[in-house]
């Protein structure tokens, strides 16, 4: 400890950074891309990378809220249903008056946030375990979807949503731009605000946190609301990218977001982690999926390969998530 002062601060910081989980995950993603790019034709070209990042943006958006929830000691299994509700919901809002489409999108995002808030209410006030609360919420939303889906055929063309799905400002897909913005905000909130500190405290020891004068209920509701919001954003982006929302569009994102969070080194037990890891975690998942798609094998073998890759990469990058 005494010699710690001798090494300059930035050197220690750099050493810490190089050994950190997020950086390792980035290295793993880069290595997979390079190896695949060298061995498979067409894999890892600029266009392909850009496309995979675009896909990763969706997982990344969902994972942003999921990261907050997991660090806060919870887990959100309703993100898939929220993605679906918002992707299916936007075209159903009959707001022709607003030509830009902003109003409909804002309304849906408010709704998604509200759903998250309800999750938070259940967890904070009814003291229902997050896994049960959000699972029940997902079930509940399925009921809502039966009413909504296949209903009226208002195929409103929403310019904002279409822009999100198609536009490439400065050559970068709008979805990626959105992801960058959300990432920066998430990282800021998590690491640069007292609110972020409260999340870390909550996940590590809720009892001590509440006895330390932190409003645990408000914090809980806020992180679930944030998760609802980012899932809602992902739903809007999905709608833009697919031109059409459909029931089931969000299903893959429950496990994908959790996997991205954990692969990124955030402890599933709560209290430690960073969104900086979930970002390459999302890219990693998309990369593996892409690899599996271009490999010619029977469905069984493909599934086995997919699982083995996750396991293998976890060995390389997931060390930080160890605890106890």
């Amino acid at each position: 400890m005494s010699d710690a002062g001798a090494t300059p601060l930035f050197v220690r910081r750099a050493a810490l950074f190089l050994r950190s989980g997020p950086f390792l995950t980035v290295l793993v993603v880069a290595a997979v891309w390079i190896v695949a790019g060298l061995t498979m034709a067409g894999f890892g070209s600029y266009g392909h990378l850009r496309y995979m990042l675009e896909l990763a943006a969706v997982i990344g958006l969902v994972a942003a809220g999921q990261t907050l929830v997991v660090i806060g000691g919870g887990i959100d299994l309703s993100v898939g249903a929220i993605v679906t509700v918002s992707a299916v919901g936007v075209p159903l809002l009959p707001w022709d008056a607003d030509a830009s489409g902003v109003a409909a999108v804002l309304a849906i995002l408010a709704g998604a946030t509200g759903i998250g808030l309800l999750n938070g209410l259940g967890v904070a006030f009814l003291r229902v375990h997050p896994m049960i609360m959000t699972l029940a919420m997902a079930t509940f939303l399925q009921g809502v979807l039966i009413i909504v889906a296949g209903g009226s055929a208002v195929s409103m063309h929403n310019p904002l949503v279409a822009w999100l799905g198609e536009a490439r400002p400065w050559g970068v897909p709008a979805g990626i731009v959105l992801w960058v913005v959300v990432s920066l905000l998430t990282l800021l909130i998590l690491h640069a605000t007292p609110f972020g500190a409260r999340i870390f405290a909550l996940g590590a020891n809720p009892l001590a946190t509440s006895l330390s004068g932190v409003d645990v209920r408000v914090t809980t509701m806020a992180i679930f609301a944030a998760s609802g919001l980012t899932a809602g954003l992902a739903g809007v982006l999905m709608l833009g990218m697919n031109g059409q929302g459909y029931v089931g569009i969000g299903d893959p994102y429950v496990l994908a977001s959790i996997a991205a969070v954990v692969l990124g080194g955030t402890s599933i037990l709560g209290g430690s982690g960073t969104y900086a890891g979930s970002i390459p975690g999302s890219a990693l998942l998309v990369t593996i999926t892409a690899l599996i798609t271009v490999v010619n094998a029977s469905p069984g073998w493909r599934s086995i390969l997919f699982g083995s890759l996750i396991l293998g990469l976890l060995l390389l990058s997931g060390r930080e998530s160890r605890r106890r």
Binding site: L77, G122, L126, R127, V128, H129, M131, I132, M133, L135, A136, M137, T139, F140, Q142, G143, I146, I147, L255, I258, A259, V262, L263, S267, I268, L269, S298, P299, G300, W301, R302, S303, I304, L305, F306, G307, S308, I310, L311, L314, L315, G318, S321, R322, R324
Partner: protein
Amino acid sequence: MSGSDPVLSPSPLYWPVQRQRNRGVRALFCVVAAFVAIYAYLFPGLLSIGGLSKFCQSWFPLALVSMAQAILMLTGGINLAIGATVSLGAVIAATTMSGPLGAPGAIAAVAFAGLGIGAICGLIVVRLRLPAIIVTLAGSFIIGGMALLVLPRPGGEIPAWFSDFLAGGTPVAALLLALIVLAWKLYLATPLGLSLYAAGENPVAAYRSGVPVDAARIAAYAISGLLSTGAGLYVAAQTGSGDPVIGQAFTLNSIAAAVLGGVGFLGGHGTMRGAIAGSLLLSVMVNVMFFLGFPPVAQYVAQGLIIIGAVALPQIGARGRRA
């Protein structure tokens, strides 16, 4: 719990301990009992041998996987590969049962697969100290892939006598469940089994007390695998065939049942009886909603509310008492 009279009991410690453990799940027991009563009221046929048998048949696999999930949650883990493992058990049963080794061979193959897969998962989680949630998620793809290799599409065959024996008009499922519960009680009465709680709640302290922590946890994974493939075998018998994706829904349902039953995520908290009661609630709920004539929309909404309610009400009640 008829034999729990402390005076007559040979052991002055065992039964009182058992009774203590009922405390946390009493509220759930009441909820479950109420649902079973409503079900019996709506469908009096439940009280016949045939009715009871059929109901137990549909509940039995869920009860097994809930136990499989609970045992891992007691060690502080979680298993997202349960669904895939059930599927694998089912396809192994359906492909080997009409083979040269017949039913005994098939049962042995299923048991071996379950124990082996569980033990490997356990080894990876415990020895490499990786998070269980993601290891078993990866495991679910690998195991699911294996199921697809064994049987690429639904098919295979279970001899009719075997199906009729396990899932005919007799309450064999109920009997099996009782046997498995008894086996579980026996296991919990072994040093390794009883170590589960200590290893789950505070592994470091348990290790210092001389508990074989790693062995207890790996054994739990193996048992979990065995129960899962066992559930698969039963599903195969019940359906008379194998299906490589039949188990998918069991993963989330088993977690829901265990958590409903009061099993905690951090290890060492909860009881198996709670998890079994949770699975019974999930299972009986489906039938109650049917007999109440709920349309699908209401089924989803009610299911969500019942699950939240079953967890929240005891909480609110407990808080009311404390005040």
